[in-house]
Each structure stands twice: as C-alpha cells, then as structure tokens.
Amino acid sequence: MNTLTSLQRKAIYVGGIILLIIPVIFLGMPAAPAGSGNASGSAGGLLVRLRAANDLGESSLGKVDPASATMNLVLLGQRGLAACLLWMDWDEQQKTKNWGKLRSTTESIILLEPHFTKVWVHQGWNLAFNVSAEWDRVDDRYYWVKEGAKFLQNGVLLNERYPELYWYSGDFLGKKIGRSDEWKQFRHFFRDDPDKEHYPSGLDPRINPEGKDNYLVARGWFKQANDWLDNPRGKEQHVMAKILFRSYPTRALLDFASTLQREGIFEEVCRKAWEDAFQEWTTVYGAEKYESDAGLVHLEVSREEEADLTKAEKDISDVRKKISFWVGRYQDMTNYRYWRTRALAEGEQNTVEAHRELYTGERAYLQGNFTEAKQLLVSGMTKYEKMVNDYPPLADDDETIEEGLMGQLNWRACLLLDQEPVPETYPLKKMWTEKQSHMQRVEDDFKRRRRNASR
C-alpha cells in the first residue's frame, strides 16, 4: 500500500523529471559557433553532433521555416490528418476556381509538408501550368506562371540540397516562358513586367532581377542543379538520367539561340549565341565523364579518338568495342551529334544570312512587296541549300525541313501572285520533292501566319 503523502509523491515526480532532464540537456546541447564570448566555440552535445554528422537535422535540408515548425508542433502529431483536409479543400477550390483561397491553401499545405519535394513540384506546376491556363488575359496568365516559379523558389530555400527543385525552377522559366502558346508575350513580360504597380522598373526581382533572357535565367538554375548534383552533401535527383539532366545548362544556351532566330533576331548576337552554345556543348558538356560498363566515357570524341574507335571495330578488342558502343548510345540518348552539328552550322555567317533572308522575305511577302520577297527568298533558299549540303545530318531534321519548305511556300505564293511559273530548277528543289510528307503541317502553319498577318 502506498504510504506516501501527496506532497512526497509530487516531490518524487519532480526529482525524477530533473534527473532525466539533466542527461537530455547535456546530450542535446546545441552547437555554439566560435567567437562572440566563446572563443573556441562548441560542437554541442552528442545528439547534436550525431545529427550533424549524419545530416539528420531539419536545418541540414535547408532553411527552417518557423511558421512551419510551429504548425507541426501545435498539431501534436495530427499533421497528416490536417494535410489531408487541406488537400481536400484545395481540390474543391481548384474545381470552383477560387484562386485566392487556393493560393492560400497551397501555402498552408506546404507549411505542413515543407520537405516533401514532390508537393513543391506538384503545387508549383499547378500554379504555373494549370491555374495560369484558366485565365483568359495573357498578363494574368503570366502572373500565375510567376507565382508557380516563385513558389518553387521558396521550396529551393527550404530544401537547398535537392537538385531537382533547382532543375524544375529552370524548367518552368525556360519551358513555360519560352515555349507555351503565349511565348512571345511571356518572353516580353519577362523583361518588362506588365504589373507596373508592383514592379515599376519592369523587372520582378524574384524572377529576373538582372533583366536577362528567360533561357539565360533558366540556365542559372540548371547550373545550380548540377552543382548540387556534384556536391557530396546534395541529394539524388529522380527527374531523368544523369547524362540528360546535366545537359540542361547547355541546352538552355541552345534554346536561347534558337529562340532568337524564331523572334527574327539574326544579328551578331544570334550567331554568337550559337557559337557559345557549340563551345559549351563540345568542350564542357562533351568533355564530362559518365560511367558506363566500359568505364568512364565522354561524349565529345576527338579525331584521334574516333580513328582509334573505328580501328577498334575491325579489331576484336572488347574494351574498345564497349567504349564505342557506350559513346554511341549516350550520344543517341542526348541527341548529341544533332545539336553539335546544328550549333556548328548555325554559328556560320552563311546560315545566319539564310535564316535572315528567309525571315525578311516572308515579312516582305506578307506586306505585299512581292518582288523584294522573291529576291530575298531565292537568295535565302540558295544559302539554305548550301547549309544543308555542308551539314548533311540537318537534311533530315524536322525543324530544318519545315523552315526550308516554309521559305519555298512563300516564294511560290509570290510567283503565283505575279503570275509567274515555277522554274525548272530552283534551290532546295530536292527538299521540296523528297519531303512532301511534312507539307500538311507546314501548309497549316503558312495559312495561320497569313491569317494573323491580315488581322
């Protein structure tokens, strides 16, 4: 039978608590940095040291959000339930297009799941791709694309060791801004934000503080992703094969150069962009080493190496055969040879001129200057033919074929309007006769451009 009084029992409980708390304090003592009254600093208690050594602390993933930490603490283990309820709310708000509340709920969900990277990607994507598409005005759409990108950037701050979040940030800014239906407006807004009330300078400091091209900003994010991939403290990425993942900074340069052409910018800046892209593709990305069954291989093969590998095919040396196989496989996987040839070709003055003349020829045709258009188009087609002949791999490239066929359609339309017959021989005739399978698509695009020009 318990003969202790209530006071005695309480004293024992308090004593027990104190007894247990002392080792906890010593084991969990936080680390103190050197300086500011503690010259040598302290590594902290055993638990803290073990946590730091094994990267188990929340702070090892990125910045710790106090609101998130408080929320999780206050919920007393009911975080999962609360998150489920919020996701249900979010779903209803998405369905009923309640965008303000949806944005707020998204933030609440992420407070509960700050290190769940898939949630960051899913929600960022939803804002940038799904919510933006629900709005009709193009500047509203751009606003939501930025919201998605900013949201993902917050995720990067809280999860700084995850390369895939950096990659997705780059992907949003590159792909969504540069390739969506509204790419012309989005790319313009990227350097001159339509929201002058909040960004009088025309630059949103969180998205594009330096007023760069979207692909160049995306490149910065891709580079950071690669840096964290190389960093031993960084986490694994699960977006795609490493060899593809690492190509993105250079791919951003290639996209940048290609988009300048699409916008009709054919000055030195475009040629230089292709040249830079070629340099980086062959000397930086192409020189990187990747693991294979044949050991470490790289994609850029020098003439000596190529000769050596060719010899190996005749030879029965297993190692060299294997290397040849893996280099070829990786090159196919990354479309390495195509981009190499394309960048090399586009860096030449003849190619730049060909694109420029085909582009300005089309403009002249759409403006009704048929004589000028014919001259420009024929000259552009001649140079274009030279490019295709100089770089045969481009002869089968869809983009190259479509541009060549479009030039010819414009030229033929000018001839028709001037009631002139198509001559027996003309530049790019071979492409016209052999690539008719592309014609339906090119004709649709041709009609669309004419329609847009007549508005």
Binding site: K95, D136, H198
Partner: protein, 532 residues
C-alpha cells in the same frame, strides 16, 4: 458570385414545418397512450394527459425573474469553467495569422476574400466548439455534482431550468461573439493595405431569371457543356444565335436611375472557353442587348472584352439607339411594368461564354462593409444559439460525453451531409436503392441495367422506394446549417441578403429551437435526477 443565392420559400417551409410538427405530435401522443395503457393500465391515458397538462402549466407559469436568475447562474458557471479562455486562443491565432496567410496573390480582391473568410471562419469554429462543450456538459455536471438538486428544491420549473441554461449560454456566446466580431473587424481593417480598403464594400445586387437560346435561336433549358468539371456555368457559342437572357422583374426605374447617377449600373462575372487560341492579346467579345418584347425594341450597347475573375462594371447611359438606329430611352422605353430583359451574346466566333444566374446583376448603391460583416456575425450567432439549444436539450436526457457526440453528429450531418441527402432524395444522384445494389454489386450488373420486372424485383424496388421516402423524412431532423454560413457573401464583397440568407437562418433557428426546447423540458421533467 460563385453560388446562386436563391430566395427562401418561407410559406412552403412553414407549411411543411406545421405538418411535420402535427404528424410527430400525433405519433408521440398515440405511442404514449398505448405505452401507458400497456404499462399502467386503463388509467394510463389519464396520467399522460396529466403530464401534458403539467408541462403546459410549466410554460404558463414561467417567471422571467427565475429565468433571469438561472441564466445569471449559468453565466457565472461558464466563467468559472474558464470558457473565456477562448479569447486567448483567439488572440494567439490572430497574432500569428500573418504567418499562415502569406503568399497571397497581388490582386486585392483575393486579399479581402481570404482575410474576411479567415476571420469569420475562425470566430465561427472557436465559438462553436466552446459553446457546444459548455452546453452539453453543463446539466450533466450539475446533476453529477448534485448542484441541480439545490436548484430544483426551489420553486423552479423544469422548463425554466432548460430555458435559463439556454439563455445563459446564449448570453455568454453572444458576448464572446460580439467581442471577437469587433476585434475581427478592426483586424481586417488594420491588416489590409490602405489602397485595398476600398475593396471592402457590400454590393447590393438585383438578380434576374436566366434562360437560354441555342445556336439555332430556339429556347433551350441550358447552354453548352464545355467539359468543365464544375457545372455551375453553362456556355453559349459565339457568333451564333445562342443567347443568355436575363429577365429582371419588379424593378423601379426611378430607383435605378438614382442608384446609378442617371445611368444603369450592371455588373457581370462571365467566364470564357476558347476552342482555339485566336488573338490572345484580346479578350472574348460580349454584348448586351436591351429588349422590350411588347414594343419590339432591341437596343444593343457597345461590345466589351470579358475579363475573367474580375469586377466587370458596366455603366449604361439611358440614351440608347435601337437596331434600326432610332433613339430610345433605357428607363422609359425598355423597362416596362417593372420588367427589364437583357440578352447577352458572345461575338467571337467559335469561342464560348460561360454564364450562371448570378453572373449578371443590377448593382444598387453599395452598403458599408460593416453592415454586411456584422450580418455575417449575426449568422454565426444564430447558428451558435441553435447549437446551444441542441447541446442543452441533448444533455437533458444524456450524459455529457454522449450528449456531445449527439450534438456533433447532428452538426456534421446538418453541415456536411445534408446537401448529399437533399440531392439523393430529390433523385439527382443516379443509381439504385440499397437492396437492389446488394443484388447488383456481387452480380457485377451495371446500375443502369434494368432488371426483369419479376415479383421479387418489384418487392425489392418497393422497399427501396420506401427507404428513400423514409430518408426524405429523416433529413428534416438535421437543420440545414449552410444558411448560417454567410462568410462567402461578406468575403466576396456582397451584402448578406435578407431573403436568401438571414430569413432562412432565422426560420431554421426558430423552427428547430421551439420543438427541441419542448423536448428538453419534457425529458428533464421525466428524468430521475438521482440516477447520475
């Protein structure tokens, strides 16, 4: 507005209520009579009659003074039970609210919406939980602690105990609600950036009835479904004869003229669906045509580009020109006998315009935000009162925990499951009854497949039909709590309407509170207090 504020049918609801009360009273009386005969014998009905007379006597002999004393006792007890600690939780929530409401879009409408919703929802949930627990545990605790014995030894009637409790808790709840409401109001004003405070308005809309014409110009029940998962809006095709037509009735031209400063103020909130990209730098074109069918006048006004999810305010000058180029006056020529018809058409070919009834309305002069906000608070107050009644009545015949479970159950069903019950009993949900499903599911038969009308099938379907009818009756046991939720009106900048929100809330409160209080009185009267 993203929901349709349909005016409440008070006459229909009152008739149904009277009928229901009559039937339930008759069933109760018959059951009591039979039970009393079976248990007591021939004198049973007389005893039932005596109890009824006694209950009625209680009500006629109710003393306001005793009621006041009991209510005061309840207030003191609530304070002693630290109910006012809810203010601490409230203060903490509001202190840190900014943490949890970051990342809001720049658009000021979103800020107002989120802040107002947050305040009203927080107040609603906090007060609800506290008052529910207080109401459900008050009487059982008194009985357990035998403090109620002291009360009942005084010349106090049982109905006064029930009513006194309800009034006491209502006073505490009212005070808490008022303080929170006022603090919340100033919090919203303080939290919103100065330039966004102009968004704090209470628009007063006048809605019309919506009808459609299809692409051939024939009357249609609704527009086109463009595949939107949210079926709220129906779409009309651009550059065809498809029209959405609003008929506004009982409108006073002089009042409209005064409201709009000589012009008519309309507001629209349409949505668009593009079947092809088109010119993305330009919006989809929409046009209003004012129609007087009796005088065959059709007066179009200049088309405008639809701006989705924004306030599209249209000020229509009274001087218009009809389709023949003849000048007409909007207020004298187009409004006839208080009726105004507006046709809406989409001018962009192969594009669609999404409309719902509340998407176009005449905007009367705005009321102040405080007006609509405190109407929203009143809605919470009415709900709180009903929950208090429910809690006190449940605790008059159940112990604390069970009374709480019962009250929470009624609350959850009334708030969440009632719309489902409504659509199921109205036949809006496709499928078959429980018994038929029991056969079809294991047999892998699709619900839409008709079974051969054998005798067994007919019996099964008859039982299922009876179940559905029973469910139709059972649903009325649960109040429709959706009417109390007026936060959406306030948050979206609308005045809380009398006919679609306040009137139904009042009717539901009175309609449920009256029989529940009678039930509580009878239960407490028949309860053996010594049985804890």
């Amino acid at each position: 507005m993203d929901f349709d504020p349909v005016p409440y049918d008070l006459v229909g609801a009152t008739t149904l209520w009277c009928l229901g009360l009559l039937i339930v009273s008759a069933i109760t009386l018959v059951t009591l009579t039979i039970t009393s005969i079976l248990t007591v014998g021939a004198t049973g009905p007389l005893r039932v009659l005596a109890e009824i007379r006694s209950c009625a006597g209680d009500w006629f002999g109710t003393s306001p003074r005793r009621l006041g004393a009991l209510a005061l006792l309840t207030i003191r007890e609530s304070i002693r039970r630290k109910s006012l600690f809810v203010f601490v939780v409230f203060a903490v929530l509001f202190l840190f609210a900014g943490w949890f409401m970051r990342g809001l879009p720049n658009d000021s409408t979103f800020h107002v919406n989120v802040y107002v919703s947050f305040v009203l929802r927080t107040i609603s949930w906090l007060t609800l939980v506290v008052m529910l627990l207080l109401a459900c545990w008050g009487l059982p605790e008194d009985i357990k602690a035998r403090s109620l014995h002291t009360v009942v030894t005084k010349p106090v009637r049982k109905n006064e105990v029930v009513l006194g409790r309800i009034l006491g808790y209502a006073a505490v709840g009212g005070l808490v609600l008022l303080v929170m409401g006022v603090v919340g109001y100033f919090w919203i004003l303080r939290q919103l950036p100065a330039q966004q405070r102009s968004r704090l308005v209470a628009r007063v809309p006048v809605y019309g009835a919506l009808t459609f014409l299809d692409r051939e110009g024939s009357p249609a029940k609704e527009g086109v479904n463009t595949g939107d998962i949210w079926m709220f809006r129906s779409y009309i095709e651009g550059n065809t004869k498809a029209r959405a037509m609003w008929d506004f009735q009982n409108i006073d031209p002089a009042r409209l003229q005064t409201a709009g400063g000589g012009a008519l103020r309309l507001e629209s909130n349409f949505q668009v669906f593009r079947t092809y990209k088109g010119n993305i730098e330009r919006g989809i074109l929409c046009q209003f045509v004012f129609v007087n069918e009796a005088r065959k006048i059709r007066a179009p006004v200049p088309a405008f580009e639809v701006q989705e999810f924004r306030e599209n305010l249209h000020t229509i000058a009274p001087e218009l020109t009809d389709e023949a180029g003849k000048p007409v006056n909007l207020f004298t020529d187009l409004i006839q006998d208080g009726n105004l018809k507006i046709e809406v058409r989409c001018l962009s070919g192969q594009q669609f315009l999404g409309v719902a009834r509340p998407d176009l309305f005449i905007r009367l002069p705005d009321r102040t935000f405080a007006e609509t906000y405190f109407k929203g608070v009143l809605g919470i107050g009415l709900m709180l009162f009903l929950v208090i009644v429910l809690g006190v009545v449940a605790s008059s015949f159940l112990k604390g925990p069970i009374a709480t479970i019962l009250a929470v159950f009624v609350l959850i069903v009334g708030r969440m499951a009632r719309p489902f019950l409504e659509s199921m009993t109205a036949g809006e949900i496709q499928g078959v009854g429980a018994l038929e499903s029991l056969y079809k599911i294991p047999a892998h038969i699709n619900p839409s497949v008709q079974l051969d009308p054998s005798a067994g099938v007919k019996i099964t379907q008859a039982i299922d039909s009876a179940e559905l009818n029973l469910l139709w009756a059972i649903k009325f046991l649960f109040p429709e709590f959706k009417y109390y939720d007026m936060a959406e009106y306030v948050a979206k900048g609308y005045d809380v309407p009398w006919s679609a929100a306040i009137l139904p809330s009042l009717a539901i409160t009175v309609g449920y509170a009256l029989p529940w209080i009678l039930l509580g009185h009878v239960c407490l009267k028949l309860r053996e207090l010594e049985s804890k």
